[in-house]
Subunit: 367 residues, 2 copies
């Protein structure tokens, strides 16, 4: 079934009982889709969701390959960018799915970055109360984070990812070679999530990122493949422990995210890429942890240095801090009105801290 995967490639399994699936990571995979999808699509109706940037590069080839195995392929192409992750866009696309005669046997395939995956996943989770769903992530951020674990959804004007579902894909197909066409800013932003895995759970991985920062920056395919696989292993382990973010374990993935979501919401989704916002957010969180004496100054320095080496921003804008605080208090990780933050205790370990004082949060926003 998976004989097209050679020894050099990676396969990570996410064990979730009846919702288990595999993540396949292989350079060149995007040119072997009819084989790679063969176990999942056989004469089904496929709705391929993508954005116009990705479409320009890959749509023709991908549609042609899927058409070999599908009954028919309908394409939904959205505008690139966070603005497409909205209810008004969903409303149009649900109607488009009806017009495509989409039914419960149809399969949604997401080809794109985090926005496309989150949006397509929510369309799949909600159409006809849930249809099948496959992820083909094309950005580093989507490959190491958003395509794995089943979190799908869209934004409300005042709150990111506030409407959505846990809806697991049937398979995730990752081709590290597509990163060659990713613009520098988005590649760097994806590295913020890569570094996050080191910070929250894997000190050896963090050290290897420090030592291979240059090769990673040059997008060396073998190094990237190993990096992506390590991230997917980390993510799979956490998702297996806490699929629906109920035990608190999965919450550690949100290191930097409560700050980051607020930064994106307050300053507009255009000003910072998600990865940039969470690099700033992790920096704020580290400062707050230092304030509590949870980490020494050297932790903040080491974390900040790797972000800088990867050309990621670490400074929060100096204005609108009251709005940032208010936005953080609307975050989904708020429980019973009490804000909870993920804070580091050392490289490779974070904890949940409940209800820090407003003034301390405001201080942590200052560079």
């Amino acid at each position: 079934m998976n004989d097209y995967i050679s020894d050099a490639d990676s396969q990570v399994t996410v064990n979730l009982a009846s919702r288990s699936y595999s993540i396949e990571i292989k350079p060149g995979l995007l040119n072997q889709l009819s084989k790679a999808l063969g176990s999942f699509v056989s004469n089904e109706h496929v709705i391929l969701v993508t954005d116009s940037n990705v479409a320009e590069l890959y749509l023709e080839s991908v549609v042609s390959q899927i058409s070999e195995i599908a009954q028919r392929v309908d394409v939904i192409c959205v505008n690139p960018g966070e603005e497409s992750k909205s209810i008004p866009v969903c409303n149009e696309l649900w109607q488009q799915m009806v017009d495509f005669n989409t039914d419960r046997q149809s399969v949604v395939v997401a080809l794109g970055g985090g926005v496309v995956g989150d949006l397509a996943g929510f369309l799949a989770a909600s159409f006809a109360r849930g249809i099948r769903f496959i992820q083909i992530p094309t950005t580093l951020l989507a490959q190491v984070d958003s395509s794995v674990g089943g979190k799908v959804g869209v934004n409300l004007p005042s709150a990111k990812n506030m409407v959505g579902a846990f809806w697991q894909p049937e398979v995730v197909l990752i081709d590290p070679l597509v990163l060659e066409t990713l613009d520098e800013a988005n590649f760097r932003a994806g590295l913020a999530e890569v570094i996050k895995y080191g910070l929250i759970m894997d000190v050896d991985f963090f050290a290897s990122l420090e030592s291979s920062a240059d090769l990673i920056g040059q997008r060396e395919p073998e190094v990237l493949t190993r990096c992506i696989a390590r991230c997917c292993q980390c993510k799979a382990a956490i998702v297996e422990e806490d699929e629906r973010e109920t035990s608190g374990r999965r919450a550690i993935l949100n290191y930097g995210h409560t700050y980051g979501h607020a930064i994106e919401a307050v300053f507009g989704y255009g000003r910072f890429l998600h990865g940039e916002a969470i690099a700033i957010g992790m920096t704020c969180a580290a400062r707050l942890a230092r304030e509590f004496g949870m980490v020494p100054d050297s932790f903040v320095t080491r974390q900040t240095e790797l972000f800088r080496k990867m050309k990621l921003p670490v400074d929060c804008p100096a204005e609108r801090h009251d709005e940032l605080l208010a936005s953080m208090k609307h975050d989904k990780k708020v429980a019973r009105g009490e804000l909870k933050l993920i804070l580091p205790v050392r490289i490779g370990e974070v904890v949940v801290l409940a209800a820090p004082e407003d003034q301390l949060i405001l201080n942590s926003l200052k560079n």
Copy 2:
């Protein structure tokens, strides 16, 4: 825990592993909510969703009772009627939930009929990727059908219930005494779903409905309580076998519904109540089954007579049959472009029939 339930009352369990829950049926239950909800709400934030008709009758009392056990109660009150089950309404209400500082520990309580339950359930299923949900159905239709089994969702302009989820409630609290305030048309419409259980799976129940039709029409509380409990048992048994409508077993609950949804969509949700539309739909389905020789004429007569006795419509409007056919082909029960219909073989048993010819469907619409 349930000591407020006396022997005369009924409790039905829906066994769905970690998603199991109980349905409690007791005259007067709506005045014992702080006890009945005590195991489910303790100092949580509650969002009570209702409509203005129900609010007028019960809101003050219900809010007061829930306030005894909740941290705070916020109320969402929608317009009565199917028009509220829409994405634009959801979009407003999601935002309202943000404004209420709703978080993952908040609980949505649906107080109302099928529209309120379906809408509130979808809000609960989708807000912050899913929060807890309790059903207090106040119409016969909701008590015997829509509040049990976890189907939640809203309509698209061209397709009923097309956006939604399977999202099980934590408990269903049914007070048959609230039916005293239900208008005659909605009470009768609910009886269509009651009769449906007899037709699809329980010939003895069907016979008891025939023999106690007058008492039921007079809304005799004890008879109604037994009726509702029997319906909930039937529904629970099917949902336990096929929670997500994948094996085909759950599809039998849709007897009359493919026709009925098309009738509602084509003629507008205002012209027929859901129960009225499916009474017509079951009549059409019975005629189609007779055409195939699956049931004798006496079946159609017996079914039609009980509908008539309950003052339910059985005649499909004579116009726009081509539109009805087209709408039926958009139904969620279509698989790989092939329409499937639930047809009777005898009182108490139905089967799934795939791909009947268009002309036969059109014939079945004629009275």
